[in-house]
Symmetry: C2
Subunit: 450 residues, 2 copies
Amino acid sequence: MNKKVEAYIDSHQAEAVALLQRLCSQKSIAATGEGISEMVEIVLDELKKRGMEPVLYETGGNPVIYAPMKGRSERIFGFYDHYDVQPEGDEALWTSPPYDIVVRDGNIWGRGVADNKNGIAAKLCAIDAWLASYGELPCGIKFLIEGEEEIGSPHLQSFADAHPELLACDGYNWESGYKEEDGPAEIVFGNKGLLYVELCVRTAKGDSHSYQAGIVPNAAWRLTHALRTIMDPETYKVLIPGFYDDVRPLTWNDYAVLEGDPFDEEGFKKHLGIDGYINGASGKEMLRRLYYEPTANIAGFCSGYVEKGVKTVIPAYAFVKMDFRLVPDQDPEKIVQQLREHLDRNGFDDVSIIVHSAQPAYRTDPDSPFAKAVKTALLGLFGKVSIHNSDSGTPPMRIFCEKQHIPSALFGGTSAATSNIHAPDEHISVKTYIEEIKMMAAVMEELSKI
Amino acid sequence: MNKKVEAYIDSHQAEAVALLQRLCSQKSIAATGEGISEMVEIVLDELKKRGMEPVLYETGGNPVIYAPMKGRSERIFGFYDHYDVQPEGDEALWTSPPYDIVVRDGNIWGRGVADNKNGIAAKLCAIDAWLASYGELPCGIKFLIEGEEEIGSPHLQSFADAHPELLACDGYNWESGYKEEDGPAEIVFGNKGLLYVELCVRTAKGDSHSYQAGIVPNAAWRLTHALRTIMDPETYKVLIPGFYDDVRPLTWNDYAVLEGDPFDEEGFKKHLGIDGYINGASGKEMLRRLYYEPTANIAGFCSGYVEKGVKTVIPAYAFVKMDFRLVPDQDPEKIVQQLREHLDRNGFDDVSIIVHSAQPAYRTDPDSPFAKAVKTALLGLFGKVSIHNSDSGTPPMRIFCEKQHIPSALFGGTSAATSNIHAPDEHISVKTYIEEIKMMAAVMEELSKI
C-alpha cells in the first residue's frame, strides 16, 4: 500500500487507540435504549471533525447516521457499521469494567471494541491518514451507521427501501471482519439469515403453591414439553417439518473454500472451555456445520422462581428466546409459519410466538470488481487471504445490497475465536486493530483504480 | 366451647387483627435472610408480654424459639409454627404492598397472614382469652417456632435430635390448617414429603455468540433434553425408573375420607384462572392426585439472556429448581440416587444435582386421644368437620413427632383455595382468623379433659 499513508498510520497508533476508547466508553445498548442518544452525539462529533456533514435519518427506532465524503476518483467505498452494542451482562464476569476501556496485554478491552466500534474507528483513522498525507481521499466514501444491529436491525429494511440513493456505491465493507493475530486476513462474501423468536406460555393467572402440582398446569413443564418437539437431542437436527426443505445444496466452491480455513479448532475449544464440539464434530465437518448448517439456538429461557434458595411454586408463565440461523433459500417467514403449524399439530396452540427479527441469508459475488480490489489490497498487505462464502453470523448485508446488486464483504480486525464478542471480556488486539486501519486505507486506494 | 372465653375472643377482634398486622409487617424471608433477626425480636416480645420466658436455640441457620407455659392440667398442647415467609415476588403483582398489612373486603392482606403468622397470632390470642377469663390456661402449652420452614426446614431435624425433651407433648397443632370461609373445619393428619433439588449444567466457561450454535454445546438445550427424560408429557407420570416402586397402596379409609372433601373444584379453577386441571382430572380422581399422588414440579428454570429484547448468545449455564412431593414409604434419599442413575444412564452425567431439602411423607394416628380431642372441639364449634389423611403440602410433622409417636394435626384458618399462600395477594378472612383463635382455645379445653 501507499508508503506515506502506511507510515502515517504506524506513527499515529496512540490516536487510533484513543479514538476507539472514546467510542467504546459510551454505553449504547439497543436492547434497552441506554446511552443511544449520547452515542449518536459522539459519532456525529467525530464525523464533523473530519469535515463531513452527517445527516441523521429517523427510522422509528434508533436513527441511521449518513455521512459521505468525496474523493479523487468517482468510485465510492461504502461503510456499513453500527454504533449499538450488546448488553454487557454480569459485570462481575469482566476483568475490567465493560465501559472503562483499557489497554492490557497488547489488547484493548471493553464492550464494543470488537463488535463493532472498531469498524467505525478504523475507517475514521484511515480517512485521517489519507487526508494528512495527500489532502484528499483516493476514492469517495460514505458512512451508513445504524443503531439497532444487535437487536436484528428491525428498521433497516424500511430505511433502505425509503433511501436507495443513499445506499448506492461500488461496494461495502460490512462492519469489520475477522483476522486472528497471526492468521491470514479473512474476507467473507455472505452471511446466514436470522430468525429470532420468543415462545411464551401462560397456564394460570399467577404462580401458585406447588402442593397443587398434581392437578394445576405448570408453564415451565409446558414449555419444556414444547421445546422437546423442536430439537432432536441426538442429532441436533431441527424437528420442525419442512425446516430443511428449501436449503440450497452446497456448491463445489462452498466446499473448496473450507480448505484454507484458518479456524483454530483446538485453540477455540480451549478458549471456550469446552471438551468438544457438538456430537464430536471436527475438521471439515465441523466447518460445514459452522458456516453452512442452519441452527436452532436457545438464547435464554426463564420461568418461576430463579433467585437464591428454595421456593415451592408452580410457575404460571414461561418463555424461551430462540434464534434460528438460516442458510440461502430458507425463508424466515415461512419458518415462522412452519413452527406455528408444528406447535399446533403437537397440541401446543397455547404457546405464543413473538417474532423479534426475520432476515434471510445473503451471498454476494466474489468475482465483482470490488471483491477483486479487496483481495488485491489485502494480499498486498499480508501476502495471503482466506475467503469465506458465508459468515456463520448474520450481518444484514442483504438489506443494503440485494436490490442494487452492490457487492459487500466483511474484512477487518476482530478475532472470531477469542475476541469474546457478545460476551464478557470483549477485546481486540492493538496489532490487528492497526492492521484494520491499513486494510481500509489500502482498499480505498485499490478501489480508486477500477 | 367455654362461653366466657368465646365472648372474650368475640369482643377482642380488633386486638387480634392488630397483632397479626404487627407480625406480618416485618419481612422475614428465610431464602435470603432479610428481616429474620428483627422478626425474632418481635416474636420474643409478644411471648414475654404474656408472661412466658422464651429461649432461643441456635441451629446453624435461623434460631428456633421455644416458649412453654404451664396450665391447670398436666396435658401439654404443642404449637409448631414458623416465623419465616416466602419471598414476596414481584411487588407489582400485589394489590397493596406485601408488608403494608391492611384489612380490605373482610380480609387481612399481606405476606405471611395465611402462611403462617396467623398460626402464631391465633395461639397468642387464645392464650390471652384464657388468661383474661380465668387467670390460667386449662392445659399447658409449648411454642416451638422455627425460621426456616419456607426453605424446607434444613436444621429442624438436628434441632429435634438434640432436644427430644423440648418436643414432648400430648399433640401438636402444626402451623395452622384449612377452613374455607363457609366450608367445614378441616383436620389433616398427615403430609406429603418433599424433595427439593436443583439440576444444573455448565457447558462452557462463559456464554458465547450464537453464530457458533451449530458446533458449540448449549446448556439450555442440554437441560431441556435432560428434563424431557424426567416427565411424560402425556400422562404427567414421572419417568425416573423406580420412582413409584415404594408407594404405599391406598387404604379403604384413604378413599373414604375423600367423600366429605370440601374442595371447591370449579371455584378453585376460577380463582387460579385455569381452564381445567391436568389431563382434565375431576372429582375423586382429581382429589386422589392432589392428596395421594407423588409429583415432579418445576419451580423455576433459567438460562442465558432473559432480559428485554434480543441477545444472540449460547448459554454456558442452565439450572432448574424442582420439587418432588412424596407419599408414604417413598424415601427421598433413594429417589435422589434413582435420579442420579437415571441421568447417568441417559448420558447426562454432566448435569449436577444439588439437594436443598429431603423429607419423607408422614402420617399420624387419627384415633389418638389428642386427635379425638381436636375432633370434639371442632365439632363443638362448627357442627361438622372434614378429615384428611394427608396434606398435599409438606409441613414437616415427622421431624417432631415420629420418634416419640406424638400425634399432630393441621387445623386453623387459612383457605387452601384462595388465600394465595406463596403467591401475590396472600390474604386470610377476618372471620376464619377469629374462628382459628376459637379453635385453639377450644382444643386447650378438650385436651385438659383427657
